[in-house]
Symmetry: C3
Subunit: 276 residues, 3 copies
């Protein structure tokens, strides 16, 4: 019976994994991770962060996986860490440290994922929730979404959220957010570089399809190589970046799909990717 | 009589220090440094820069100090250096060098200040005046404000202003400003990341109150720790930044006000900060 | 006869050099390099890139040269590399490597040029064409212009274009462009920092004149010193940048035109530059 269902699921090309606080669903190449713990405002407790890491990494070497979406249920995308995990009368320093270590693992896994990770925000993204949006490769939000890093209001400055925020948002806006904790609007977030695009709620699905179609129309191995190089080169000086870039371009052309892309262009036909 | 006044001043929680070119005024936690040398277009002469450094550092370890505002009288926020100090027929190389060394000390003191430093611009900020705005943590301006780095028009390229400008403004706009010297509008400055917000002149005081209230509602020691870490992490690679960030978060939680913030959140009450 | 023409040309202060794919024209201090190979959508073949490098470097030490414009004929500013040069069945790895090495030389020559290099876009700038725009010091575009980095659609991720793009465009927009290959509008390009200004097609010439007049009104040697320092300081930490900046300012003041600028300001007269 179990095997039967597996066959059915496989035929339908989707799979679902669920827990109390997150849900993973994959249809064809698009995996959707949904924060579904609205009663805690989708707080990023230690267990929730470990679940997201699991959802990100499960079978992530499968050539069929092409893109990961991060979504949330309820009016809050994520309110950030679960502050109860920081009460020193109940949790020791080592337990607190483990929460931040998991947060780092989560953020670096978004970067390390071989496929693009896209945040889809329709509500408030605060503190480590805002960090998660800032750390994703691409992020979309609806006009009513807001973003804040208000940790200092609860005695804990958003130092780690600032790491992701300050690497995409200009400094004057990043420090206004971090030092005041005041929220910014979707429009301000777009202008400052925190989100890639603001999309009306009713257009969100079609905009997402435009993005995932664009990604799925390409070779997974080429996208993977390009994403990896992007995060390498932005941390190097210009000359070194270009030296490494030359090597990367030559390596890209030596991929099977690199040559297939070039040949299909010259022969004016659609490419057939092997994603390798 | 003097002591009597001091008592009165202390009771009123404000103090004033004034010179020919700058004025310092502190009311409760908010210190305002005002450039009041409109006849030189608030030029940043060596003595004026040293005065501002003094205003920034005087009793800056006092837990009562929470935020510093940088304002100006007259239509020009600041026109930058006093060019007379660069006439080689009257000033030697060592004297010129001392001007730039003071400028560096001023800029690094803004960064090193344990409290947020906010520039409030209502007019033209040019050259080192524009640098000062760019170097502040947060900056506001009115719609009629303009910004420029026109040093090359006077034979002295705005090389040092470019250091602050290029760290918050995107490169295409920074180089347009530096290579042409042409002014940009308040709106362009906001979109490019030079100011945190554009505010109508009649709303400036209420917007400033929103910002200073937000800062004053938090713990000074938490804000101070967070500001210091921000300027550390933005100069590190992502992985190192996160490693240092984990330590910073754990250290933050070990502060008295760190735990007070967490406990007040859990107990659903207002926190009582000791600012330590 | 030839010498006669040379004399005439010199008297008219302009010169023209042309090939099949590019054209160079210099009138007074403004050199215009035009991509004129519309039939290949101004592709940046190896020979075209080498021509542009030649146009950039020819007599670039001449004090009369003050600014270089990069323009294009036809609806496409440039479509990027000539993909036929990447067909491994016809070109070996060393030949491919030479294309990317030339691309690096071109980009670094834009940075190394002693005068400002301004891209003027009226159409599509794609892949390495978009890279060229991003690498220029200043860039203007018309409202109908679009920008994309669609290399992955042809099997070759825009890894090297991403180097220039990510150094002026915020990260969320850079990765949206690179991972999806979808084009962005002129307005999006301006807001994200890819172009310095969007200008109506009918105003392009007057806006260009404003920019080149501003550059020509200054000393070439001062602009050159400032441009060189800009690209040095943005790759250093803040404190080192300011230390180097102090030296640069003192050196600037020791230039003949540095002192002429200061003196002309004090004496309230127009400066007379020697550009040295």
């Amino acid at each position: 019976m179990l095997r039967c269902w597996k066959t059915v699921l496989s035929a339908l090309s989707y799979s679902t994994t669920a827990s109390a606080t997150t849900r993973m669903f994959q249809e064809k190449g698009i995996r959707t991770i949904t924060l579904c713990d609205a009663k805690t405002r989708n707080s990023l407790s230690l267990s929730t962060m470990n679940e997201i890491i699991n959802h990100l990494t499960t079978n992530d070497g499968d050539p069929g996986l092409r893109c990961i979406l991060l979504r949330a249920e309820g009016p809050v995308f994520s309110s950030g860490h679960n502050l109860k995990e920081f009460d020193s009368s109940k949790k020791g320093t080592e337990e607190q440290r483990e929460v931040f270590a998991a947060c780092t693992r989560l953020m670096l896994q978004v970067v390390a994922s071989p496929v693009p990770v896209v945040a889809v925000v329709d509500g408030l993204a605060a503190a480590a929730g805002c960090q998660l949006v800032a750390q994703c490769d691409i992020s979309l939000c609806t006009p009513n979404s807001t973003f804040s890093t208000p940790g200092a209001s609860f005695g804990l400055f958003c130092s780690t959220p600032g790491i992701a925020v300050a690497r995409t948002v200009n400094r004057k806006m990043a420090l206004r957010m971090l030092l005041t904790g005041l929220p910014i609007t979707a429009e301000e977030a777009y202008l400052a570089g925190l989100v890639s695009k603001v999309v009306m709620a009713e257009s969100l699905d079609s905009e997402l399809k435009t993005i995932t179609d664009a990604i799925e129309s390409k070779s997974r191995s080429v996208i993977s190589l390009g994403k990896k190089f992007f995060y390498q080169q932005i941390e190097r000086d210009l000359q070194t970046a270009y030296q490494l870039g030359e090597e990367t371009m030559v390596n890209n052309l030596s991929l099977r799909d690199g040559q297939e892309g070039i040949k299909s262009f010259i022969e004016k036909r659609k490419p057939t990717w092997e994603h390798s």
